[in-house]
Amino acid sequence: MSRQSNRTTDSKKMNSELFTLTYGALVTQLCKDYENDEEVNKQLDKMGYNIGVRLIEDFLARSSVGRCQDFRETADVIAKVAFKMYLGVTPSVTNWSPAGDEFSLILENNPLADFVELPDNHSTLVYSNLLCGALRGALEMVQMAVDVKFAQDTLRGDGVTEIRMKFIKRIEENLPAGDE
């Protein structure tokens, strides 16, 4: 049974490859279905949002992370716990705005784009836009409205992949009347 020997080391990586390849198939399909890249970006963001609002539950259940004190702590949890858990990478948190309401996640290597090259006619496609939607959706479920977008992308020739996140506001919980 020599074939079994390297399975355990491989299976984690394989799982992320399954995700990467499936995501690739999805983006390919979207590019076929929509005429322009803007529409594809929008669709990816929407799907990401749907994933995010569900994924946060899984995240809270698994990670036993408590309530964050401030946005800086949130940033750390996203980078060190969430990205590590689901994508197997740990982006660095940098470029804080003076007010502390905006920061960048720098990804040295973006697992979603592992086997990807963008053809010339898709220069405005934000390939990994699903991530933005997912972050937005997940944070919305913990009462934080944020704006997320790609500032740099290695697929478009930049040196690193940079996701810019801006805190907009705390979403007030509206409890139904009479419900304490």
């Binding site: 079994q4 390849l21 698994r62």
Partner: protein
């Protein structure tokens, strides 16, 4: 560590996207199932190339099928196939008693009509994997009670 949750959710979104335009007409539903199957095929092809790059050469067809049931299934669905049967004439039945992609649905028969959409991608995945290992096949799935399901692989002799 990468979890299966993102893949499960992505898979659901994929189905939602492909099928949302196809409400109603049966022919439309059939087309979206085909689309999902084709996407799975492509992914299966890529995946098996990565997975088999350090493995020894396969002895025969049964050896290939065992690889699918054990290593491939464990990689993708976190468990092995529970039961593999064959008639030794090119038909294999792979039974999974707790199929990952049906686990988040209500167990039993309530949503049985929706099962084909949730299995099409996997059928393609298996067909794609087999195809790159030199085995041409037709893969279909069958569910009687969720979350158990059976995949039937019909080998196409060249």
């Amino acid at each position: 560590m990468a979890h299966e949750a993102p893949f499960q959710l992505l898979h659901s979104e994929l189905i939602h996207y492909i099928c949302k335009t196809a409400d109603g007409a049966d022919s439309e539903n059939g087309r979206s199932v085909t689309k999902l199957e084709n996407m799975g095929f492509r992914v299966g092809q890529g995946l098996i190339e990565r997975l088999t790059k350090d493995t020894a050469r396969f002895k025969d067809e049964l050896d290939v099928m065992k690889f699918i049931c054990k290593d491939f299934w464990t990689c993708v669905f976190k468990k092995q196939i529970d039961n593999l049967r064959t008639n030794h004439q090119g038909i294999y039945v792979l039974q999974d008693n707790k199929f990952l992609l049906l686990c988040h649905m209500s167990a039993g028969k309530q949503y049985l009509e929706h099962a084909p959409k949730y299995l099409a991608f996997t059928c393609g995945l298996v067909r794609g994997a087999l195809s790159n290992m030199g085995v041409k096949s037709i893969v279909t799935a069958e569910v009687s009670v969720m979350p158990a399901c059976k995949f039937q692989v019909m080998i196409q002799k060249l």
